[in-house]
């Protein structure tokens, strides 16, 4: 009780309040601008945290990243350009809702369930941190391999038309991850002597190129779509309670998956969103509606990616192991402010930990009013003439990807992937699967090769450990399910009715 009161007094200062408010607006705006991502927002905060007190510094990072992960859904729904990789899983779905004239359903669902997911994640963090950490620590390369491989197979589930084209796109994504020196062998592959390619193709420039730039190219080469009737946006939250009651199970499933996946180091909000969306489709009673503008998938994956943010702090605070790039930056800030990750954070500095939990909850509650303002403001973007909006978005894409590593090569990458995305979409290859391949590829290969090194080239150990056996069964079942169904159908046809 004492620590709780102490924690409360730590955050009830003007500095922390101003920090939270300012970084909330900052994160909200940056996330909503296509081309500028949550990672960039966090990276740019680092110099500012220098001048802040420890709690205020971490509070800015927590708030900005939570807001940015939600507001990345806004351009995704309104313009089919996801603001962050975590929103890419359900961009098509959200955009389809907007085209149907139900933008406030899409955005409201994203807002409401993001906030709920974040709060669930924060509560799970408070209660379950040690247990989650145990689970995270028991994951070795074998388990990771099966998990990421399972994630890779979500590719087929984002196909609107041909699953084969989705798989082809995912395989292309895998090929792209082969570029560079970041492979277990430490040998440069496909670099053709270019220094810039040594580090491989980063996800963010590829994502921005393939979604944003190709969308811009599409917009400029086709006639403008019929203007969405400019009626006043209805109450954003009114339908959400009904949605919550209707999709209770999906929401809880999304939250749980989000926290679990987020707690695994190396798997972040984007992985959680993909897996949740795939789960939603697989277990839905109306799978044929997915892709046409159906809120069920939005509910589950919108919850998952915000819950994953909180889950990512579990290995970060307990062991200093980052869950994703944002927590990696956050760990650096924790060290700088003397809040070293480890057990001391929960014993001597326990009040600081509770203060951080409270900031999590405050940030997610604050998300709702700020999110409503943001949604209403960005609605006006749709009314701007495309010829004016598109060049600005293009500029933002270039600036956003450059700002992360100050590397001009990133801009070249964005352009190349923009052309690639344009060509792919023209021919029916889903770019979401390409991005999925790029996101998962390095991890799948790294864990596969590392596991082989550890097992001396034997394949049996991949199935020996209990968790990896479970994951392996799920993966193989998912792989063989369509074959099984096809066989069953053939057998039924062969038998006389």
């Amino acid at each position: 009780m004492n620590t709780l009161l102490e924690a409360f007094s730590m955050i009830a200062t003007t500095e922390v309040a101003v920090a939270i408010l300012a970084s909330a607006v900052y994160g909200m705006v940056i996330g909503a601008l296509p081309g500028l991502t949550a990672t960039m927002a966090t990276a740019l905060l680092v110099p500012i945290t220098f001048y802040l007190s420890p709690i205020a510094a971490i509070a800015t990072i927590i708030t900005a990243s939570a807001m940015a992960i939600f507001s990345g859904d806004i351009p995704g729904a309104l313009m089919r350009i996801p603001g962050t990789p975590a929103s890419a899983a359900y961009t098509d779905e959200a955009y389809a809702l907007t085209r149907k004239g139900q933008a406030e359903v899409a955005l409201g669902a994203a807002l409401w369930f993001s906030a709920l997911g974040g709060i669930f994640g924060a509560v799970a963090l408070m209660i379950l941190a040690p247990a989650l950490a145990e689970m995270a620590l028991s994951f070795s390369t074998y388990e990771y391999f099966w998990l990421f491989f399972l994630g890779l197979m979500c590719a087929t589930l984002v196909a609107r038309s041909s699953p084969i084209k989705a798989i082809a796109a995912a395989l292309l994504g895998l090929l792209i991850t082969c570029i560079g020196i970041q492979n277990p062998g430490g040998v440069p592959r496909f670099t053709f002597g270019f220094t810039d390619l040594l580090g491989g193709i980063e996800v963010l420039p590829a994502l921005v190129g393939v979604f944003a730039v190709s969308e811009i190219m599409r917009a400029l080469t086709s006639a403008p779509p019929p203007p969405i009737p400019n009626r006043r946006l209805g109450s954003i939250l009114s339908g959400q309670w009904a949605l919550t009651r209707r999709y209770k199970k999906q929401m809880w499933r999304g939250n749980v998956v989000g926290v679990l996946v987020g707690a695994l180091p190396g798997a972040g909000a984007d992985m959680a969103a993909w897996i949740a969306y795939a789960n939603s489709r697989r277990f839905s009673k109306e799978p044929e509606k997915f892709g046409t503008g159906h809120p069920e998938g939005l509910v589950e994956s919108g919850s998952a990616n915000n819950a994953a943010l909180a889950g990512g702090w579990v290995p970060a605070t307990l062991f200093g192991i980052p869950g994703d790039t944002i927590t990696a930056i956050a760990i650096g800030v924790l060290y700088m402010k003397g809040l070293n990750p480890g057990p001391t954070l929960f014993t001597e500095k326990a009040s600081s930990m509770y203060a951080l939990y409270m900031v999590f909850i405050i940030a997610n509650i604050l998300m709702i009013p700020l999110g409503i303002v943001m949604i209403r403001t960005s609605r006006h973007v749709l009314r701007a003439p495309r010829a004016a909006a598109m060049p600005i978005i293009l500029l933002l894409c270039a600036v956003g990807t450059f700002a992360i590593g100050n590397n001009p090569f990133a801009i070249v990458l964005v352009a190349v992937f923009g052309v690639l995305g344009f060509v792919m979409e023209r021919n029916g290859f889903p770019v979401a699967a390409l991005v999925l391949g790029i996101v998962m590829g390095t991890m799948v290969e790294h864990n596969f090769v590392t596991s082989l090194i550890k097992s001396d080239g034997e394949l049996l150990p991949f199935f020996e450990r209990p968790v990896s056996a479970v994951l392996a069964t799920m993966t193989i079942a998912a792989l063989l399910w369509p074959v099984f169904v096809w066989l069953l159908r053939r057998l039924r046809q062969a038998r006389p009715a």
């Binding site: 990276a43 680092v46 110099p47 220098f50 995270a136 620590l137 028991s138 994951f139 070795s140 390369t141 020196i181 970041q182 277990p184 062998g185 430490g186 440069p188 220094t195 810039d196 390619l197 040594l198 580090g199 180091p265 190396g266 290995p315 307990l318 062991f319 200093g320 192991i321 980052p322 990696a328 930056i329 956050a330 760990i331 650096g332 800030v333 060290y335 700088m336 003397g338 070293n340 990750p341 480890g342 057990p343 001391t344 992360i404 590593g405 100050n406 590397n407 090569f409 790294h446 590392t450 090194i453 550890k454 001396d456």
Partner: protein
């Protein structure tokens, strides 16, 4: 044609505006007389980035002009180091270079070597430690070394960083110093120290040779134990961890160091002014507090000492890389 056209009036106004600013270019009036850029070849939030930022902030206080840190990531450090080496040598672009500069050219990744820079100061060095799982039967380094010698080649596994990374070379060099082939303990590459420590805790590898500060969180959580460090003396932050020499009698040491440098052919007065300022920063209380809080090793070398240190490191690491079969030229 009117005498005074609009354009003419505008031009005259502009000239009148800037005329007072016309002064002979004073050149090196007082270094620095404008902001200085500090390039960091590694990502935001990491150890090198954090160290560079605090150095930059303290240099700003010393020299009175902003020192802005810019991350130039990519190519496993090649991009950032190249940016530092190719900048204009006028003292307004410097950077933090790391031990990888002595490794990259051996792998054939770049033509850059330590001789492509003007060394300014060595600021820190972190030696690798030898960490094992807390449940391991080995309580001291001698017990572990005996087990390594007794085990068949490739049976034990170690991790800590990527293939050919500094901690891999540390293991290779240590095995070499013990008279064993460099791959007697199999290296399992990882994406940095943190995932390697997780593998150690999950039982996937037997040894992790990353630096002790990187392993600290796991050690304090009771999941891992540090048996020795490969350094000439103990780290005061971890006084119970003996050196290899004390625990085993093997005199091998190596370290991941960081130092400030600029492009080649920087003006001597500017380089000397920077080195002097860096020395004041290094001796100051804030820098010490920061480094101690993170457990980073405080090691100082002025420009000449830094150059000599890099030369030694180049030799040691080159030999370790040859032994590990990573050299590509």
């Amino acid at each position: 044609m009117t005498l005074i056209t609009r354009r003419g009036a505008l031009a005259a106004g502009a000239l009148a505006g800037i005329a007072p600013l016309a002064r002979p270019a004073l050149g090196q009036a007082r270094y620095p007389n404008r902001p200085v850029q500090v390039i960091v070849p590694w990502g935001a939030g990491g150890g090198t980035d954090a160290t560079a930022r605090i150095v930059a902030a303290l240099l700003e206080r010393e020299m009175g002009q902003p020192f802005n840190v810019v991350n130039r990531t990519g190519g496993s450090g090649v991009v950032g180091h190249t940016a530092i080496a190719q900048a204009t040598p006028d003292g307004y672009t410097i950077g933090m270079i790391t031990v990888e500069i002595c490794m990259m050219h051996w792998q054939g990744l770049t033509q850059l070597t330590r001789n492509s820079f003007t060394p300014l100061a060595l600021m820190n060095e972190d030696p690798p430690g030898v960490q094992v799982n807390a449940n391991s039967p080995h309580r001291d380094i001698r017990s572990l070394a005996d087990a390594i010698r007794a085990s068949p080649a490739g049976r034990l596994r170690a991790s800590g960083t990527g293939q050919g990374g500094i901690w891999h070379l540390a293991l290779a060099g240590w095995l070499g110093a013990m008279g064993l082939p460099a791959d007697h303990v199999r290296w399992v590459p990882s994406n940095g120290a943190a995932p390697a420590m997780q593998e150690l805790a999950a039982g996937g590898v037997d040894i992790v040779t990353c630096s002790v500060p990187e392993a600290r969180a796991m050690i304090e959580a009771g999941r891992a134990r540090s048996l020795a460090i490969m350094a000439p003396q103990r780290n005061p932050q971890f006084p119970n961890v003996p050196t290899l020499k004390e625990g085993l009698g093997v005199d091998f040491s190596v370290g991941a160091w960081r130092g400030m440098a600029g492009p080649l052919n920087m003006p001597t007065e500017i380089a000397q002014a920077l080195t002097a300022a860096l020395q004041r920063v290094w001796n100051g209380q804030e820098f010490r507090d920061f480094m101690n809080a993170r457990g980073f090793g405080l090691v100082w070398g002025n420009a000449a000492e830094f150059a000599a240190h890099m030369e030694r490191a180049d030799g040691t690491l080159g030999a370790a890389m040859r032994a590990a079969g990573i050299v590509r030229s």
